[in-house]
């Protein structure tokens, strides 16, 4: 008998692990930001701006950003896999979301290192 069943695409596990790992990164970053806010001597624009001049905050934010974008990609793709049945439309949406996420990442870095 010819077995025409297509199974075992051999991916999915990495995404599943990544979703959990990136969630941990985001929790750690949230705690860091809360801590930084609590430790600000005064909560005004100048202290806020000074906080984001620190390399620690900038690079931590980049790590958070990568985690967030990856996490968002996995989540949004999961939604598309459930609800968008047509492969062509789904692939188009995947590409649009990936491009949008890359643009958001670039924009965030511009904000962090811009003036």
């Amino acid at each position: 008998m010819v077995n025409r069943q297509v199974v075992g695409a051999h991916y999915g596990l990495r995404d599943w692990i990544a979703q959990r790992a990136t969630a941990v990164v985001m929790i750690a970053y949230t705690l860091l930001v809360l801590l930084a806010l609590v430790m600000l001597p005064k909560f005004d624009y100048w202290h806020w701006k000074a906080l984001w001049q620190l390399d620690l905050m900038r690079y931590a934010t980049v790590v958070f950003l990568v985690a967030l974008l990856f996490h968002a990609w996995i989540g949004v793709r999961n939604i598309f896999m459930d609800y968008i049945k047509d492969a062509g439309i789904r692939l188009t949406l995947y590409v649009v979301v990936i491009l949008a996420l890359i643009a958001y990442g670039a924009w965030a870095i511009q904000i962090l290192w811009g003036n």
Partner: protein
């Protein structure tokens, strides 16, 4: 007893409708199935599946007051009236409460639900230690009633691609069996974004299982094994 029952006969009805019934119970009628059989004796157009009437065969799974369960082990006294009875959600309706379970069994067959062992057969049976046998508890009891899979949104959206909680519980039942030698092939078969990873652990399956089994836990163990195999 007041019942509100989903009726649909594709030969006669244009679309499904809910029909209300008032039935007179006898003192011996304890379970919902008794009430349905009593109803059937007055309205023989009403169709449903049942067989063992004691929660072992899994034939009379249906949606009872919004929750999947077996009519034969649902106590009448516990049910709020009018009892709303619908067929299992997400499967094509053949007639009234009878659904087409082909897709469900197709997924079940796709996990090779039997021991694979190509070594020469021993003189007696293949033995297991009591500890190894213990691992199969909570897995082998599944009666394939489909209450869990048809309560799972991931199975509703992708019944052709997602194995579903019942199939995955059985998949783990054979992965966990020390007499089986095809663990790697079984994990290969499931390492797929649809077949296994559509499960997001919302645990509807655990909530409805009439045998008190925990497919989510079994799915978690499959994921653990996949992680161990990879990292």
């Amino acid at each position: 007893m007041r019942l509100s029952i989903y009726r649909y006969n594709p030969d006669v009805d244009e679309k499904p409708y809910m029909q209300d019934y008032d039935i007179q119970l006898e003192p011996t009628d304890r379970m919902l199935l008794d009430a349905l059989i009593r109803l059937k004796s007055t309205d023989d157009t009403f169709s449903f599946r049942r067989s063992c009437r004691e929660g072992v065969c899994g034939s009379d799974a249906m949606n009872i007051n919004g929750k999947n369960g077996l009519a034969c082990i649902s106590k009448i006294a516990d049910l709020k009236e009018p009892v709303v009875i619908r067929p299992l959600p997400g499967l094509p309706v053949i007639r009234d409460l009878i659904v087409d379970m082909s897709q469900f069994f197709k997924q079940y067959h796709s996990v090779t639900p039997y021991v694979v062992n190509d070594t020469p057969r021993p003189e007696t049976e293949r033995l297991q230690s009591p500890e190894d046998r213990e691992e199969l508890n909570g897995l082998y009891e599944c009666i394939l009633c489909a209450c869990c899979s048809t309560a799972c949104p991931s199975f509703w959206w992708n019944p052709d691609k997602f194995v579903g909680p019942a199939g995955l519980l059985q998949a783990y039942r054979f992965i966990a069996d020390t007499r089986d030698q095809a663990t790697n092939e079984r994990l290969d078969n499931l390492e797929d974004p649809y077949r296994l990873f559509r499960c997001h652990s919302i645990m509807n399956c655990v909530d409805v299982c009439p045998k008190g089994l925990n497919p989510t836990k079994a799915i978690g163990k499959i994921k653990d094994l996949l992680v161990k195999r990879t990292v």
